[in-house]
Structures are given as structure tokens and as C-alpha cells.
């Protein structure tokens, strides 16, 4: 469909005379601006949630897919020997880029969130962890498990798939929920603006009658209402978007050891998505009012 810029410009600039034929309607004006503003505010948060979960899903998916862990659970005297044997096996395993045993400080850091900073790692029977970084298409996990079970009985391979899949799946679904929320917000906006437009049309039955009497076409009458509601939704949408943008901007920044929520927000070019919301609110209002006006005018003799 070719966009007629002249018509769009005409619509935006408006007709000062035509705008005056419909009297100002107090409560529907406030209702439309408020609804559009509130919905735009919610849409920004839904969008931020979608973006954040999208980033998480990507990060978890890609980062975890490239690394695995081998846990050496052996009697204290055998841990060092089994660790060395495991590292030797990994050196010759196809698809393994590097492998290294975590030192006690690193293991303490891993356990610190659960047991506190003063954990005596040296005195506890904690298994040794080996971090394995993959390359190319990765290694054959099944084959490596078999080899380890034969040569290093205390070594257990964890390729993260067991817990990575549900996490990535949860993040992906959360992102989907964000998108569905945006759709629902759009639909709710359309419903509210339709109600407001219907109320305005019903309140102006006499105006419609007079305009018809003097030869106004339905498109002229509809446009007087549609333009008004579209501009109100654009205004409300802009205010709601700016307010929500500021709120998201003021959220605590994502930290290395922070949780999921601290990463909620937009990164870089993703802020540009906010520019889409007010015109989208206006488009929803345009379509909703146009449909309501056309139906009302069709049903009015």
C-alpha cells in the first residue's frame, strides 16, 4: 500500500474550521489522554522486560553452551591425582579448547553467596571443579563421560544442558510474555479509545444530525472525531512513554554479581524503541476511532 504523504500531512495539520464543528468533550478527552498515557507507560515496561529477557536468553544460551564443568568427587588423597588424570584426558579430547582446575579462591567465591565469606574451603570435603571451554562444534559429551568413568571414577561431567535448557526456555517464554503483554496493552488501548469515541459520538448525535443536514459527508464527520482522538492518544502516549523511559533509566544499573532484575531496561539502540510507542498509540487510536465512527455513522440514518 502506497502511503499518501499529502493526506497524512493534511490529517496531522488538520483543518482549523473542521476541528471546530465538534464541540470539546470534557471527560472523553481526559479519558483518552489518560488511557493512552497509562498504556504507553505499561508498554514501555513490557518492552523493557522483553528486551531484558531476550538478552538473558541469548547470554545464557551462548555462554553456557560454550562451557562445561567436571566435578571430581574422590577421597581426599586421590583428588589431585584424579584432577591431573582428567586434565590429561581433556587435553586429548576433540572439541575442548581449554580446561583448568579452579583454585580454592575461585571455589570459595562460588560458594560464598550460600555460605558466606569465611568458608574454610580447605577443611571441607568439597569436590574439585574443572572448567572446560569448548571450541568448534564442541566435544562428544557421551564419549567423554564413558572415558572418564573408565579412567577417572570420581569425575562427573556436567555439560550444563540439564539446567541450561529450562533457564533459556524460561527466559524465552518470559520474552514472549512481554510481547503478548504489549499486544494486550494495544488491544486494551483500542478498546478504551473505542469506548471513549463511542461515548463522544453518542454525545454528539445532534452535531452529526446538523452536519448531515448541511451536506457533510461521513468521511468529513468521521475525520473531525478521528483526528481529535488520534492527537489525544499521541499526546497521552508521548507523556506516558517519557515518564516510563525516565523510570526505566533510573532503575539500578546491571551489576556483575547482580540479579536478573538489575538488568531490566534498554541498552544502546534499544532506547530507540521508545520512539515507536507514541505513534503506535496514535495509530491504534486512529484505527479504533475510525472503526467506531464509521459504524456509528452507518447506523445513523
Amino acid at each position: 500500500m502506497k502511503l499518501d504523504f499529502n493526506r497524512v500531512t493534511e490529517f496531522v495539520m488538520g483543518d482549523a474550521q473542521a476541528d471546530r464543528v465538534v464541540p470539546p468533550t470534557g471527560f472523553t478527552a481526559s479519558l483518552t489522554v489518560f488511557s493512552a498515557g497509562a498504556m504507553a507507560f505499561l508498554a514501555v515496561f513490557a518492552l523493557a522486560l522483553s528486551m531484558a529477557t531476550g538478552r538473558l536468553a541469548d547470554r545464557w544460551g551462548s555462554e553456557l553452551a560454550r562451557s562445561s564443568t567436571i566435578r571430581i568427587s574422590a577421597p581426599e588423597g586421590q583428588i589431585a591425582a584424579q584432577t591431573a588424570a582428567t586434565l590429561k584426558i581433556l587435553e586429548t579430547t576433540k572439541g575442548v579448547a581449554s580446561a583448568r582446575a579452579l583454585d580454592p579462591d575461585e571455589q570459595r567465591a562460588l560458594l560464598e553467596p550460600w555460605f558466606g565469606p569465611d568458608l574454610p574451603v580447605d577443611t571441607l570435603p568439597i569436590p574439585q571443579l574443572i572448567e572446560v571451554v569448548e571450541e568448534g562444534e564442541g566435544f562428544d559429551a557421551g564419549g567423554l563421560r564413558l572415558r572418564l568413568s573408565a579412567e577417572v571414577p570420581g569425575a562427573i561431567l556436567d555439560d550444563h544442558t540439564r539446567w541450561r535448557r529450562p533457564l533459556v526456555s524460561a527466559a524465552t517464554r518470559l520474552r514472549m510474555l512481554g510481547y503478548i503483554s504489549i499486544l494486550l496493552i494495544g488491544a486494551a488501548t483500542a478498546a478504551m479509545i473505542t469506548l471513549a469515541a463511542n461515548a463522544a459520538l453518542a454525545a454528539n448525535t445532534q452535531v452529526i444530525g446538523v452536519l448531515r443536514l448541511v451536506g457533510a459527508r461521513d468521511s468529513y464527520i468521521a475525520q473531525a472525531f478521528v483526528r481529535r482522538f488520534t492527537l489525544r492518544a499521541l499526546t497521552g502516549g508521548a507523556v506516558g512513554t517519557v515518564a516510563a523511559g525516565v523510570a526505566v533509566f533510573l532503575l539500578p544499573a546491571a551489576q556483575e554479581d547482580g540479579g536478573f532484575l538489575t538488568g531490566l531496561g534498554f541498552h544502546g539502540w534499544q532506547w530507540l524503541w521508545l520512539l515507536v510507542i507514541p505513534p503506535l498509540a496514535a495509530t491504534v487510536a486512529f484505527a479504533a476511532t475510525q472503526a467506531a465512527a464509521r459504524k456509528t455513522l452507518k447506523d445513523t440514518p
Binding site: Q17, A18, R20, V21, P23, P24, Q206, V207, G209, V210, L211, R212, L213, V214, G215, A216, R217, D218, S219, Y220, P301
Partner: protein, 229 residues
């Protein structure tokens, strides 16, 4: 006299299960003057509405400018209404606009340049004697002023026909004579006029100034009124 501006052929109109008008045939030729009379509730307003496409006949045919209204799109009917000025019984103004804006409403909705038409508008407002009331709001007008403003609005597009529904219903005798003179003047300019009224004195007064046909609705049918009118 020329071609038919509005033509009704065997028209009937029913509403709520009852027939309000039956077998109505009427030709309004260009430049003609008609009075439509009959008791209250006889269907005068309904017949006028059929004449400008505000109602669709339930039987028969209504032709506006040689086109059957049933074949007309809504936009075509709107366009036809720009050629038929209507003076409603209750005037029907937009109360938030001034008298001048209400009178120029047909120009606005047809997309005409109001600046270019401002001289005509002033002249018309002067012609109906509302120069001093141009900036007033409709609720501030008297009955006679409202009727004159409605008449001015009806003719600002220089329509082919003017249909007036009880234009003198809410005004005194002097004002009704003034409105009548305006309608007669319009007719002399070549406009087709039809006035629905139950005011027989008005019709008698008009007949000495203009050659008018007087039609009466009786028992849902249209008849030519007797010689007493």
C-alpha cells in the same frame, strides 16, 4: 419552469408497522413554489425528509436531480443535500459556534475557502437582518432570529431548492411575513421552494405575491388543496 429538482412517484413510508404516507406523487420543478399543509402529525415533516434523502421510502421512488435515492451512495446523498437547503422546524444549530459560523457551516463541510466567501457571507447575514447578531451564539437568539439564521444557512450554498419545515412556527405575524418575503425573493431568484406549514393565513398572504401550488396531506395521501386556499 424547468426540469424536476425533486420527484416522488407512488411513494409510501411506513414506520413502526404503520403506514404514515401512502401513494405520494409529487414533482418539484425548478423555480416552483409549493406549500405543504395538513394537520399536525399528518406527515409533513416526513414528506420533507423524503424530499432531501433523510428518509428512504418504503415503496415507490424518490428522485433527487433525476437520480433515484436508493441507487445513491451516502456521499452522493450528502452532495445532493448541498443543492437542497433545509430550514428545520427547530433550526438545528451547533450551539458552540457563532451565528456567522453556523451560517457558513455548509461552506465548511464542502471544503470551500471561507476567506474567499466572507464577502458573500456578510452580504447574506445583512440580507436576513442579522448583521448585529453575527457573533452571538444560537441560544442567545430569538425565535425569529433563529429562523432567519437557519434560512441563511440553507441558502449560503446557493442551492437549487429550499425546503422549509414550519419556518414561521415559533415567530409572531410580523416576523412570519418577513420570512415569507425572503422566501418569495429567493423564488424570484429561481430557487425551488417548498414550505410545510399549518398556518393557512400565511399561505393566503403568500398567494397574493407568488404563484404557489398548495398541497395538503390528508389520510396519508397528498392532494391539491381546494380553492379556499
Amino acid at each position: 419552469m424547468g426540469a424536476e429538482v425533486i420527484e416522488l412517484e407512488n411513494v409510501a413510508y411506513s414506520y413502526g408497522g404503520g403506514e404514515l404516507l401512502s401513494d405520494i406523487s409529487l414533482k418539484l420543478q425548478a423555480g416552483s413554489f409549493h406549500f405543504l399543509t395538513g394537520p399536525s402529525g399528518s406527515g409533513k415533516t416526513t414528506l420533507l425528509k423524503l424530499c432531501y434523502g433523510a428518509l428512504m421510502p418504503t415503496a415507490g421512488e424518490v428522485r433527487l436531480f433525476d437520480t433515484d435515492v436508493r441507487t445513491m451512495e451516502r456521499d452522493d446523498i450528502a452532495d445532493a443535500r448541498r443543492r437542497i437547503g433545509v430550514v428545520h422546524q427547530d433550526c438545528q444549530f451547533l450551539d458552540h459556534l457563532t451565528v456567522a459560523d453556523n451560517i457558513s457551516l455548509p461552506l465548511m463541510v464542502s471544503g470551500r475557502d471561507l476567506l474567499g466567501e466572507s464577502a458573500n457571507l456578510k452580504e447574506l447575514i445583512g440580507w436576513v437582518g442579522l448583521k448585529a447578531r453575527a457573533d452571538a451564539l444560537p441560544p442567545e437568539l430569538s425565535g425569529g432570529e433563529r429562523q432567519r439564521a437557519a434560512l441563511a444557512r440553507a441558502i449560503i450554498m446557493s442551492p437549487d431548492a429550499v425546503l422549509a419545515d414550519e419556518p414561521t412556527g415559533n415567530v409572531d405575524w410580523e416576523m412570519s411575513q418577513r420570512l415569507l418575503r425572503l422566501l418569495i425573493e429567493l423564488n424570484r431568484m429561481g430557487k425551488t421552494i417548498m414550505v410545510a406549514t399549518h398556518d393557512l393565513a400565511l399561505i393566503r398572504a403568500a398567494k397574493s405575491h407568488v404563484q404557489a401550488r398548495v398541497l395538503r396531506i390528508s389520510n396519508r395521501r397528498l392532494q391539491l388543496a381546494g380553492a379556499d386556499l
